[in-house]
């Protein structure tokens, strides 16, 4: 009995994986529409004047960020958790009825809440706080979803056979705890319906914090939502999938320790860099800047650990498109975590803040690091979830190059756009008057907005190729006799 390999239960993983691909297409499509709207504003009414309210940039913008972060990325994180968790803890979810029920509830409540969120954002029901736009009833729903996941983590750990927690599990635990804390404190609000004794919209609320304090809490949240939704769980994924796919052990345990605990301590301080030259206290701004620069250490610690894991095995990068995605992802992670601290230096931030350079920075992290790691994770999991080989390796390679080209067009155009606009805003003529009116600094951006839209479209095309590849994989007839173990399906 004990000699037989464990049969893991992937039913919840499969649900989250399908949702990742579906929401990924929707969220990225909305992003592409937004990009074209900025280049060609008449596209704000692309479904006609009658529906203008719902196709307008301002309504779609929120839908894009939230669907990509909380729809696409979180689904992928959870698909990976329900896959990695069982494997590194050496226990199957099917061993516990409770865990299976929790897992399925987790998915279906999340799915229902996502649908409500899409409708409510299109209707304009928002608190305005970036990445925390949801009104109080949805905040409560999100809390339930989060606790269901937490109960699943705790339950699986409680019945584990492997007593030592693997690095990926550290990062999943940190993700759970940090987001719970951030979500709770940033969304403290009073429903006005109850505060006023039954007047007005029942779903409306007012923030517990005002003005500068509100900004401080919001960017403590906003910055660390990036850390603990778009960074730590993705690191959890690469720590598992890269060694599995390459057959190489993680280069250094000590470096993993340094990177993990360093990231935990340093990341939370850096939120102040979103508020440089604002009305928050100077020392908080300085701390934000300084800790952002220190943050390079733990970030690069993880990324270098990944690259050195490939030591002596670099031919795999050439041979396997899957390894390409992960190595390029790590590289973009290094790139993005260097760019961020540069933008957090006060004198650079004076130019960069409020411009498209920030958008460029977000996207080389989101498209290059997060997007590529999600794609790699699903390519690695799909053969094992469905007992089928990936449909087409050449399609994967084509996707990789098309998406990489898309990212390069995206961030280069946004660099130029951001720095151009930042410099034009501050330019004075020889008499000390402003050299440009605001609209001058908008019109000059048109070519860069167009290039960005092309880049985004290429990335979306690549993602649709990915969805097609996975679809053909799952619907293929050929079934592998036994689960593929250590060998990569892409191996030469």
């Amino acid at each position: 009995m004990e000699d037989r390999p464990l049969e893991y239960d992937y039913s919840v993983t499969r649900l989250f994986m399908m949702n990742t691909i579906f929401v990924g297409i929707v969220g990225m499509l909305v992003g592409v529409i937004l990009a074209w709207q900025m280049a060609y504003p008449e596209l704000n009414t692309f479904l006609g004047e009658g529906l203008a309210e719902y196709t307008n940039f301002s309504r779609l913008r929120v839908l894009h960020t939230d669907s990509v972060i909380y729809g696409f990325v979180l689904s992928a994180v959870w698909a990976s958790w329900y896959y990695i968790g069982q494997r590194v803890l050496k226990v199957s979810m099917a061993e516990s009825r409770t865990l299976m029920i929790l897992g399925k509830l987790h998915f279906w409540i999340y799915f229902a809440a996502s649908a409500i969120i899409v409708v409510s954002l299109l209707m304009g029901i928002t608190t305005s706080k970036e990445y925390a736009e949801f009104e109080w009833p949805l905040d409560l729903g999100i809390t339930i979803i989060w606790l269901l996941w937490g109960a699943g983590i705790a339950g699986l750990i409680a019945i584990r056979r492997e007593k030592t927690l693997y690095i990926s599990i550290w990062y999943f635990i940190a993700t759970f705890l940090a987001v719970a804390m951030l979500h709770l404190f940033n969304n403290l609000e009073i429903p006005t319906y109850f505060g006023s004794g039954g007047i007005g919209a029942w779903y409306h609320s007012v923030s517990m914090y005002a003005g500068t304090n509100d900004a401080l809490v919001q960017w403590w949240f906003g910055h660390n939502a990036v850390a603990f939704v778009l960074t730590t769980p993705i690191i959890a994924m690469i720590y598992y999938f890269l060694p599995k796919e390459s057959g190489q052990a993680i280069y250094s345990y000590k470096l993993s320790l340094l990177a993990f605990w360093g990231l935990m301590f340093v990341y939370l301080w850096a939120g102040g860099h979103h508020l440089l030259y604002s009305t928050v206290p100077d020392w908080v701004q300085t701390m934000g800047s300084v800790f952002s620069v220190i943050l390079i250490l733990p970030s690069w610690g993880s990324a270098i650990n990944m690259l050195l894991t490939m030591k002596g095995e670099w031919q795999q990068v050439a041979a396997s498109p899957l390894i390409k995605f992960m190595i390029m992802g790590s590289t973009f992670y290094m790139f993005s975590t260097l760019e961020g601290p540069i933008q957090a230096i006060k004198s650079v931030n004076a130019i960069a803040h409020f411009t498209d350079w920030i958008i460029g920075h977000v996207h080389d992290g989101a498209l290059g690091w997060v997007g590529f790691m999600v794609v790699a994770a699903i390519y690695h999991m799909a053969p094992r979830l469905f007992n089928r080989e990936i449909y087409s390796k050449s399609l994967m390679a084509a996707q990789f190059w098309i998406q990489t080209l898309g990212i390069v067009l995206y961030f280069t155009s946004m660099w130029i756009a951001g720095i151009t606009q930042g410099m034009m805003w501050r330019a004075h003529d020889e008499f000390g008057n402003l050299a440009y009116s605001f609209i001058d600094t908008v019109e000059v951006l048109h070519p860069y907005f167009t290039i960005r839209a092309v880049g985004g479209t290429l990335y979306l095309i690549g993602f649709i190729m990915f969805a097609y590849n996975i679809y053909k994989t799952t619907s293929a007839r050929e079934v592998e006799a036994s689960e593929l173990q250590n060998a990569s399906p892409m191996g030469a």
């Binding site: 900025m38 970036e130 009305t279």
Partner: protein, 230 residues
């Protein structure tokens, strides 16, 4: 120690939460001991202005417009005095924004008029050639939610002591009282009276007729809010 932590998930979780909560405790908590105090001349929003603020939020205007003038010559030349913390004392939520696809609006009430906003919201490029801002035609049709605005006023007055119906010091040494209705009916009537002052400067006949019939389109509320930003 690390090896031990990796075998004891509960202790591990405790150490993680302490490590991540530390920064917030040091950076954020001290500021709550000291409530944000309004600077002289900062007043709470009237019912109509607050309804306009809700329209602003509903349409994510903050996705493209900031409300934060940084202390640089180029910004004070373009937008007016740099922002002071106390000016935001009644802003729940804050609306600083993080992107300027369009210009800052912190003091837009100083240099734009009702008439300008009316034309601009209907067709931005007609007022600012080359503008990439979309038109907001539905604001001329949809009704502003005055009741929810009043509910928020009651809530912030009760829970945060926002000084409605109380004298607030002004820059010239005088005081001003921002009135809030005692009942929702009174609040609606006060918002309507304020709306009529706005529509007096507007041209759109449908909007004027709506206000005459006791309805307040969103455009009137958002213009009241824009005009209050000084």
């Amino acid at each position: 120690m690390f090896h031990w932590l990796e075998k004891n998930p509960f202790a591990f979780a405790v150490v993680v939460i302490v490590t991540i909560a530390f920064a917030g405790l040091v950076e954020i908590v001290p500021h709550f001991a000291q409530q944000a105090r309004p600077v002289i001349g900062t007043t709470p929003y009237s019912t109509l202005e607050l309804a306009g603020r809700h329209v602003y939020i509903k349409n994510s205007c903050n996705a493209c417009h900031s409300q934060l003038v940084r202390p640089f010559k180029s910004e004070t030349d373009r937008y007016g005095d740099y922002s002071l913390s106390g000016e935001y004392a009644y802003d729940r939520p804050f609306l600083w924004g993080s992107k300027r696809t369009g210009p800052d609006l912190m003091r837009v009430g100083n240099y734009r008029t009702t008439d300008w906003h009316e034309n601009h919201m209907k067709d931005p490029a007609s007022v600012v050639p080359g503008s990439i801002m979309p038109a907001y035609g539905w604001m001329f049709v949809n009704e502003a939610d005055i009741d929810t605005s009043y509910a928020e006023q009651l809530t912030v007055a009760k829970f945060f002591g926002v000084p409605y119906n109380k004298p607030v010091p002004m820059k010239d040494g005088s005081t001003k009282i921002i009135k809030m209705g005692a009942t929702v009916e009174e609040a609606r009537a006060m918002a309507l009276a304020e709306a009529k002052l706005i529509t007096a400067d507007m041209k759109n006949q449908d909007v004027k007729d709506a206000v005459e019939n006791g309805k307040i389109p969103e455009i009137v509320a958002i213009i009241a809010y824009m005009n209050s930003l000084k």
